[in-house]
Amino acid sequence: MDWLLYAGADPVHKILLMLIAIVLFVVLMGIILFVVDRPRNPSRWFVGFGFTGAALLLLLLGLVYPAIRTIINSFMNRNSTEFVGLDNYIVAFTEPRFLVVLGNTALWVLVAPLAATFLGLVYAYLVDKSRFEALAKGLVFLPMAISMVGASIIWKFVYEFKPAGVNQTGLLNQFIVWLGGEPQQFLIGRPLNTFLIMVVFVWIQAGFAMTLLSASIKAIPDDIVEAARLDGVSGFGMFWRITIPSIRPALVVVLTTIAMTTLKTFDIVRTMTAGQYGTSIVALEFYDQRFRQNEAGLSAALAVLLFVIVVPVIIYNVRQQRLSEDVR
């Protein structure tokens, strides 16, 4: 049994376990499909459960059960041995350091999606039907292919500080020196550092927003645009009165999707500052409390908070997705 559960550092053992798991999966699915196919006139329930049963079971085990455990743990002490009521939540909402974390998270959710969507939208509108459209879109989309950690390391170099008189390694400080200024410590000062870290996120996500919104802009019926032209609408009026209202559902979907991504952000902050200098956000603080301080209760409370924040965004996002499908 131990051999099946734990591979340690032996690569051969790991690959064998993986193969066993794949074979198990294939065999199990084969049995299910075979059984569902057997009866002549199966009831709809039987077929439905046959096909979704395995997934539902895994969801229960992998999602519902841990979620309930987390909620229970958030009302318990640091090693989940006794109930402490709302203490963990009180700590999270009263201690200054956690207030900073919650404040940063709020900033992230408000600013980052708006900035990324705005940049993506303007860019998509500007390069639409231009000669270099494919190339221009490709350039902005490229950062999407870079992992968050990779992008963070790149930007960490951009913000890198070396004192005056020593060769600068940071791009930004090099420009400042060329312009005759003093090199700056970018990642230390609050609240600027949080915004500078958001730049990395926006740099990655703007491409995603641009791609989706560009497709929506192209889907605007030509007759509407023609009619507006005949009525004498042009330039900014066109953008504000025709484009935006036509793509509103897509805009909301993009905005909420990026907002959800924002709440999941952990790797950027961990790589850039590890949450130092007052830049920590809930997702990172949760990890720190759980795995570095062994504070099971507090970390569970933070996870529940994150969940509570993200649920309305998800609901709104799903409803808007349905709406945008109806429009089509």
Binding site: G8, D10, N79, K162, P163, Q185, A274, R292
Partner: protein, 466 residues
């Protein structure tokens, strides 16, 4: 902070790409044959011989396996596994070695999942306390181990492996942290003597500062260390507490008999600040005071090599951080002197080390624990580490087996009766302080220029109430 050293130490650069490829391949293949280490130290690893009779009482162990989980990864892992070879040859036990940088976070997870390793090399007493108090998972040390520790180690070392009167974990390696790295040739050219008292040190600092040019400063420091950022700063403070308030206050401090923001501690912060927060004294070749917070600890001493910095306080394991080709020695590129105390006769010394915790009590596990706590192992480890950078406070260790002069100096300090050794306080404090608020407090102290009082008040307020 031993761990950081073990987990974040940069690999000793390899002599050739072919060698590095071979190392990658051997690192991937789970082999246990310790070859000679390569790198700057020179010398060949020799296989130690030990007395196999010590393990007769555990019965026939041939063919059994023991799993070891640790933060010690390549390149140090190679010398670790090589030091187990004599035991494996004696008993026929196979040691399955698993090193991971994530070990500290993963070990409690594995313990909770009912899947602990047989043996864990714990990088700090704080982790041992967590495992004992929160999970009740570590088994008390067997008699033979306790006997070995009583024989080979000073009582305070045994105390670090003890929780609530029960002795759990034998010490393994040791580190000496009270060192100041410097360039002997720079000192000689300028006619400076190595200071032997704190006053001489401050005098020397002021003298050097008068000759500041450009980015050159007397001291350099850096406390950035990924998500452990801040720990080198705590070492500085601990060293100063030992020197300004004394060992007794130090003990009251980490046991929380006095509050963290006690005037004596604030005073120590201020004393450290006289050097570290004076823009005329820091941060040689790296920037201003706030650059201490952002400079990576692994490279913070490099300005010494460019002549931009004169002194860098760092532990003995900083020896392996110097770029390849840097000669460490009294006549080399860099060497270290003991961070002086108020008088030349006092020798308060900050130390750290790893400890051996066991989660199972099969005979082969107990036999291996016994081996690791013995002087035989310490000597085998010394012989398996030809490039140096390892030392132990085990008094059975033969200093002649150590690879470098500098390691022998560390061993000498550890063995010196005048030495008053005190363990790294942040490793002994509760995790909420020792691996969290004390670290971030140091960052704020440098980066946001918070006062000593503000920082210590903040750390005191984070001390767990129970």
């Amino acid at each position: 902070m031993t761990i950081r050293m073990a987990s974040k130490r940069r690999a000793v650069a390899l002599a050739a790409t072919g060698a590095s490829l071979a190392l990658v391949l051997t690192a991937c293949a789970d082999t246990n044959d310790g070859g000679g280490g390569d790198g700057g130290g020179g010398g060949e690893a020799t296989q130690a011989t030990i007395d196999c009779a010590a393990f007769d009482e555990f019965g026939d162990l041939d063919g059994t396996e023991v799993s070891v989980y640790t933060t010690i990864v390549e390149p140090e892992a190679e010398t670790q596994t090589a030091s187990y070879k004599p035991f494996e040859d004696c008993t026929g036990v196979t040691i399955n070695y698993e090193g991971s940088r994530e070990m500290e976070a993963q070990l409690p997870v594995r313990v909770q999942a009912g899947n602990p390793p047989d043996i864990a090399i714990l990088p700090q007493p704080g982790l041992l306390q967590t495992l004992v108090n929160d999970y009740d998972a570590v088994l008390p040390a067997p008699e033979q181990v306790e006997a070995n520790v009583d024989e080979g180690w000073a009582p305070e070392w045994k105390e670090y492996g003890t929780v609530d009167g029960t002795f759990y974990a034998a010490p393994l390696g040791s580190n000496v942290k009270s060192y100041v790295w410097y360039s002997p040739s720079m000192f000689a050219d300028a006619g400076y003597e190595v200071p032997t008292t704190w006053d001489e040190l401050t005098e020397l600092t002021a003298t050097i500062a008068e000759g500041n040019e450009g980015a050159t400063r007397p001291w350099c420091a850096g406390i950035e260390s990924g998500d452990a950022t801040g720990w080198p700063g705590t070492d500085w403070i601990e060293d100063v507490v030992l020197r300004t308030a004394g060992p007794d206050v130090y003990d009251q401090w980490y046991t929380h008999e006095i509050p963290f923001n006690d005037p004596q501690i604030v005073d120590a912060f201020d004393t450290a600040g006289e050097i570290l927060k004076n823009p005329d004294y820091v941060n040689g070749g790296l920037g201003g005071v706030d650059s201490i917070a952002t400079a990576t600890w692994t490279d913070a001493g490099y300005p010494i090599l460019d002549g931009n910095c004169w002194m860098h306080r760092a532990a003995n394991f900083y020896q392996t951080q110097w770029p390849e080709g840097t000669e460490v020695g009294p006549d080399g590129d860099v060497y270290a002197f003991y961070l002086p105390a108020q008088t030349a006769d006092e020798k308060p010394t900050l130390v750290a080390g790893e400890f051996i915790g066991a989660f199972t009590d099969r005979p082969e596990v107990q036999a291996f624990q016994t081996y690791l706590s013995s002087a035989d192992w310490a000597n085998a480890k010394a012989q398996a580490t030809p490039a140096g950078g390892w030392v132990s406070a085990n008094n059975g260790l033969d200093p002649d087996l150590l690879a470098t002069d500098f390691d022998r100096l560390s061993a000498e300090i550890l063995a010196d009766p005048a030495t008053v050794a005190r363990f790294d306080a942040s490793d002994l404090m509760p995790a909420a302080v020792g691996t969290d608020s004390f670290w971030s407090g140091m960052v704020d102290w440098f980066a946001s220029d918070q006062s000593s009082q503000e920082v210590t008040d903040q750390i005191e307020s984070s001390w767990p109430s129970n």
